[in-house]
Symmetry: C2
Subunit: 332 residues, 2 copies
């Protein structure tokens, strides 16, 4: 096994977020399930966009947000995802490259547009996503940069990819390449409803030996079809070597080799927008893990990044996470 | 003269702002004049974008920001500007319509892209714009909605339009239509360097009888080629019936019929981003003026709107200005 040149490489949907505010009633009017990632078609995204208020556009995408976070910590990161030759594709490419993430996708012309998600933030700070996958629906193994995967200490995958056949296949190919190169494969379950749509395949992949599993409370209980977090955690402990389970304000728990490490959520003054909380938690954890920090420090870096992201609109850090972590004495 | 159905209609560049942070040295590296609106070509905007850090996209455009502000106060507003059939054109259209502003431009296909401005915000909160006009360079009289102009109490024009021949001509046609209908014509000088490029034409238009002139300190001193604000103010008083001169933190002064009304700047905790300060000042003033408030109240509504906009990133209000003004007892 050669020394990796990149800390974390992820594969995911290359998405630009269109973020606006709304009240809870509006979610009902457009038929969106609060707090979830709702997949919508071309007609639906137009219908919702026409009805929602003014918005701002910020690069997003779950696995892309995670590697953006890793880069903000000072880590070396790469991303694979599919974009179209349009303004949103150029925005996505600019933003991820400008923070030093390796991203070399060729924009696809004259086809479906770049993926976008209408993110509606309610007064409680909760985000509800209405995602139009567009060009991402044709992501497949031909978009993989196998050398980058072999050169990365960690390959990180978002569960959202399971919603598309071609991507699912790319996902499996990437896992095989990473494993052969002796790298760590990390998986985020992404969304409880996504888990519900693909439960058996998720379980099959996890039981085949995923290195690190990330899930929040609703995702892990959905996976194991139980209402008990503790029961789900026991299942996760049995199925994985390292499971990292997040519980929003209740903090998180890291299950590894029979040990359990509890991490408190970082205190914040006000939750402005929860978009990206899980993505940035994973960023902090993976950065710490790739640099061989203790699981406790990995968890604290994760909580720090999650707290930064929910204190403002958008799922990309506004502050250098390296500076923030150093100011807390977590990294030097 | 029929009763107007719209309070304020503006004509301007339909722009989406791409806002990022940088230090002062970066402005030197890209050759941008700090605090100014730098016009750039297609190659230059690509060169600067490739070098700048991550950004967020928010609808902008000086005169468009002003009518967005009028709408936020509860006023009826309209906008005329040119967009291309691209993602940025759709963003612009959505955002301005979603707050109730009348805007009915047909997107132009297969030509130059929608106008965009790379806005770099330095640590002091000052914004430096690098604007690529794109499709806006072909704005001409055919884009005017003459009925909307005749139906609006106030026609508001941004001085930036003087940078393009076709737009200048549209500008003059619009002024003629508004005057014939007995409406008020308001003009913002927009930028000191823009004034310098078109001084004689600005003076000719102003002296032909503009209803309300808006200018900041550097613009009005540039117009009258003096270093003395007081000397420039005396010239403005002689040339106009109503001149509104802004001086950033020093507040503003309203010169009308031999009287002078001083308005203090609203106190704010921290200047985050000055983008849109002048645009929103004009919004508050024009809303008050169209509703026949006293000049003092018009000025205070203006200061309130300017303070809201510089307290966050972007040039569109994040808070309802109507609610904000009511909470201060300025409007009921």
């Amino acid at each position: 096994m050669t020394t990796p040149r990149t800390d974390v490489t992820s594969i995911g949907n290359a998405i630009v977020d269109i973020i606006g505010r709304c009240d809870d009633a509006f979610l009902g009017e457009i038929g969106a399930l609060k707090g979830a990632m709702n997949l919508v078609g071309a007609d639906d995204i137009k219908r919702i966009y026409d009805r929602m208020g003014p918005a701002i556009e910020i690069s997003g995408g779950s696995a892309a947000n995670t590697v953006a976070g890793v880069a903000s910590f000072g880590g070396k990161a790469g991303f694979m995802g599919k974009i179209a030759d349009d303004d949103f594709g150029r925005i996505f490419t600019h933003d991820i490259r400008s923070i030093g993430v390796l991203f070399s996708a060729d924009p696809v012309a004259n086809t479906e547009p770049t993926s976008r998600s209408l993110i509606l933030v309610t007064p409680d700070g909760e985000r509800t996503m209405n995602t139009y996958l567009g060009i991402s629906t044709s992501l497949d193994s031909t978009q993989l940069d196998l050398e980058l995967i072999r050169d990365s200490a960690i390959l990180y995958l978002e569960g959202y990819l399971f919603d598309r056949e071609g991507a699912k296949s790319a996902f499996r190919d990437a896992v095989a390449v990473a494993r052969t190169a002796g790298r760590t494969v990390a998986l985020s379950l992404s969304d409880a409803f996504c888990v519900d749509r693909h439960r058996s395949e998720f379980l099959e992949l996890i039981r085949s030996g995923i290195g690190i599993l990330f899930a929040n409370e609703s995702e892990i209980t959905s996976l194991y079809q139980t209402t008990s977090f503790d029961a789900a955690a026991d299942c996760a402990r049995a199925d994985t070597k390292l499971a990292v389970l997040t519980r929003s304000a209740k903090g998180s728990v890291i299950l590894a080799n029979g040990t359990s490490t509890s991490i408190a959520a970082d205190p914040i003054t006000r939750v402005v927008d929860t978009t990206g909380a899980g993505d940035l938690y994973a960023a902090g954890f993976l950065f710490g893990y790739s640099r061989n920090y203790s699981l406790d420090v990995c968890g604290r870096l994760a909580s720090l990044a999650a707290a930064e992201i929910i204190s403002h609109i958008g799922a990309r850090p506004e502050t250098s996470l390296a500076v923030l972590a150093a100011s807390k004495g977590l990294i030097s």
